[in-house]
Amino acid sequence: MSGQDAFGFETRAIHAGARPDPVTGSRTVPIHQTTAYVFEDADQAASLFNLSTFGFIYSRLTNPTVSALEERVASLEGGRAAVAAASGHAAQFLAFFTLLEPGDEFLASRNLYGGSITQFTQSFPRLGWRGILVDPSRPENFRDALTPKCKAIFVESLANPGGVVVDLEAVAAIAHEAGIPLIVDNTLASPWLCRPFEWGADLVVHSTTKFLGGHGNSMGGVLVESGRFDWSKSGKFPSLTRPEPAYHGLNFYETFGDFGFTMKARAVALRDFGPSMAPMNAFLTITGIETLPLRMERHVANALEVARFLEAHPRVAWVSHAGLPSSPSHALGKKYLPRGCGGVFTFGVKGGHAAGVKLVEACQLFSHLANVGDTRSLILHPASTTHRQLDDAQRLAAGAGPDVVRLSVGLESAADLIRDLDRALAATA
């Protein structure tokens, strides 16, 4: 038996990356609250800077607490290696900076977290990268949209906020035909509910701020590499497969093999742009992950109970939750998220914009804020908050029409959540 393939998910959620400290025996991962690490001698220092030995230089690049989190998430996703970042947005930046040259393009599902759409279509173009949005409901739409400059396809496994499930296996096949990787944002599903690498994805990103951390107390992101994409085959990724001028002519793929992408993301993108995760945040996220399977089961059960209540409520026009038979994503949800379709979904309140605003203000237990994946239940009216700057047509396309309310169902007693929503819905009448 060659190691970790013998251990189950719950065991790895607690133990992966976290052997007892060799010096002190500390059983939980110590918080290495340090910026830098003393070199043994000048030769070892040079070896560290050359990447010819493993070790710590400076916490912008690596930190022992953050490393433990990276290995744990790599293990849970079934991946080869991971690099953590200050936020999910930062992890996406590390992925694309490692893949793209100025002038390159990529395809992205149009059903994404709104912040990702803005990152891809407003800020990335200033770096010379063009994100092309595609309707993901037909996988063939991605093939039709491919251009010779496309270097990746990006989707969310379970889209925020609409509850749309993407056909990962079909989109991965289209990406691989084109010689490019499929990147999956697995934030809303978490690796307990969906593991994109098993369906052909090549890179996974997370906002660990959400379900992985799970307690609404720590910002963070992580980029995971499957270790199975051949970066040399298509000739489209010269900065990975040829001598890299940003690192003294090092060939990352040849030198580090199936974790060369992660090494380059760390040694170039993280080094030069600096969005590293804080050790304290890594510690809190590690602690959160230890209960991920238990929490996700309760998030799923509570969300489904709340969704069923809402679907039967006279003040509710529609509910979009892939766990409900009424959802167009129901069949894909059963395939890719067999343990349940997560804890975040949207519904439409009768009475439009004014009713939506009244509803969020009337809640006494659901917290009105812009986050998801907390132990606490959260509510948001996108049209009056996150999507306020868009016009009506843009809001509708983004799944943020005037009547749309987003819930992130927490771990409280389901009956209390239902009572809170019932009272608040009555206030919209």
């Binding site: 970790q4 060799p22 490393s67 509910l193 969906c194």
Partner: protein
């Protein structure tokens, strides 16, 4: 159930169909003293140079073998033209050449009575491996000595790499 997607990874470390038991690799890397590195490069940014320097720091004697640089010195060691020219007994022959070239090198390793033939990442020659195994040598293919050493002795995880190792015991530093 999860874990049944068509691409469910059977292995959590290097993604190929070669399965080397951690215990076997740990024994090789924990007991070998002399490594003959075929294809060792004098250029500091080549993978072979990385591995040689790393293994030296871990206490191995690494003897470079490379006909193009015979007689020169790499990291303090004289370069030999062939395995037959190496003046001391060799525990591991570590091969930084392509898969085809690894065939005759494996035969030389058998001839000099090496204990292990280790073919680096992307290098694989199943016929040569069968000959070496028949001659009583251990064979490792498509693995990096530095990466596997780091993985088994607690350093690879520092780079965020999935080592596949779960243990409630304090790590013992081996060398």
């Amino acid at each position: 159930m999860l874990g049944e997607g068509p691409l469910f990874p059977r292995r959590w470390t290097v993604q190929d169909d070669l399965d080397y038991a951690d215990g076997d690799l740990r024994r090789i890397l924990g007991s070998a003293k002399v490594v003959a590195m075929v294809g060792a490069s004098p250029k500091w940014n080549r993978p072979s140079h990385f591995v040689m320097k790393y293994l030296q720091a871990k206490g191995f004697r690494v003897i470079p073998v490379n006909p193009q640089n015979a007689g020169e010195t790499i990291l303090g060691e004289t370069v030999h033209a062939s395995l037959a020219d190496v003046p001391v007994p060799v525990d591991v022959v570590d091969v930084f050449r392509n898969s085809e070239a690894a065939g005759p090198i494996t035969d030389e390793a058998i001839a000099v009575k090496a204990k292990v033939v280790w073919l680096q990442l992307t290098v694989r020659n199943d016929a040569a491996a069968a000959r070496a195994a028949a001659a009583g040598l251990q064979v490792v293919m498509n693995r990096c000595m530095k990466i596997e050493y780091g993985r088994l002795f607690g350093e690879l995880g520092w780079a965020g790499v999935n080592t596949g190792i779960i243990s409630s015991k304090r790590l013992k530093v081996n060398r």
